[in-house]
Symmetry: C2
Subunit: 142 residues, 2 copies
DNA sequence: ACTTGACCCTATAGTAACTATAGATATTAC
DNA sequence: GTAATATCTATAGTTACTATAGGGTCAAGT
């Protein structure tokens, strides 16, 4: 199949498939006479694996490692469980950070006096004073 | 004060200060004879405002709008409350998405048989089958 | 045969919000 | 005077793609 069909079957965009090839996640496929990429069932499976990993928040570099393992499984796969554990911890940290951010934003929202006078805008005044955030938990810079 | 002192007092990196200047968030400051940037108290306040906004997850473009308002307040500041509301909604969506991701990751983690045999690695097998995710909520591509 | 349109190709640049590097100049400390 | 530190500019790198430009290939219709 050509790249468009692979894209449709996998749900991955054409440009992204080419990108994955350039990044070494997908092997360079055969070409037709007219220099079109030609894929088979294995490529579709591999791309499915890649997308499944991406959907789980893994980055291309990690996926590359997983693909190496997939291509040539070794006896010990403990590191894979560790990788997933690390991702879960990562996600937990992000959630916690966002919960804190939400708290800050809601507090900020609460300082809107609703008096519709620019100079007195409560939110602007709150933003002017950064020290307020020191008390209730420092937000990460990101 | 010079840029290093401003960086220390604000907690913002020197390079980031220069970046904010280039992006138009900070005005081009005076210079010494030796072409060093010279800042005053107002710059520190403005940078504090910027960082406070950043800590609340606002992007430079939004901060630019807020700074324009700060420089020249208009009567109506409803849009500022709306901006904050939109951010809260945004954060909520991100949290929900991460919660779902966490659920998926934990399920994935649970498929590790712990049998330490590469070919049978449960996680790898789960990653091979993307259809499992269709049932319990599609993960966003990001 | 010709043209239209859909699909495909490569290479390059753009995205966000910085960060890192290289190479030059200025100031400060000893 | 010299060495270390701080600053300057300009450019490129980061992530995971996406967009654009400029062109080639292929199947169908006239």
């Amino acid at each position: 199949m050509k790249i468009g069909e692979l894209a449709e079957k996998s749900g991955c965009k054409v440009v992204t498939i080419r990108y994955y090839e350039k990044e070494g996640l997908l092997p360079a496929p055969e070409r037709t006479e007219g220099n079109y990429r030609l894929y088979g069932a294995k490529d579709l499976e591999r791309l499915g694996f890649i997308m499944h990993c991406r959907e789980h928040g893994m980055r291309p570099a990690e996926i590359r490692d997983l693909l190496l393992f997939r291509d040539k499984p070794r006896r010990d796969c403990t590191w894979i469980a560790n990788l997933v554990d690390a991702h879960i911890a990562d996600v937990d940290a992000k959630i916690a950070s966002l919960e804190l951010l939400k708290k800050h934003l809601e507090r900020l929202r609460g300082t809107c006096g609703g008096e519709r006078e620019g100079e007195l805008c409560g939110i602007m005044r709150s933003l002017d004073d950064r020290s307020c955030c020191a008390s209730c938990g420092r937000l990460p810079a990101s």
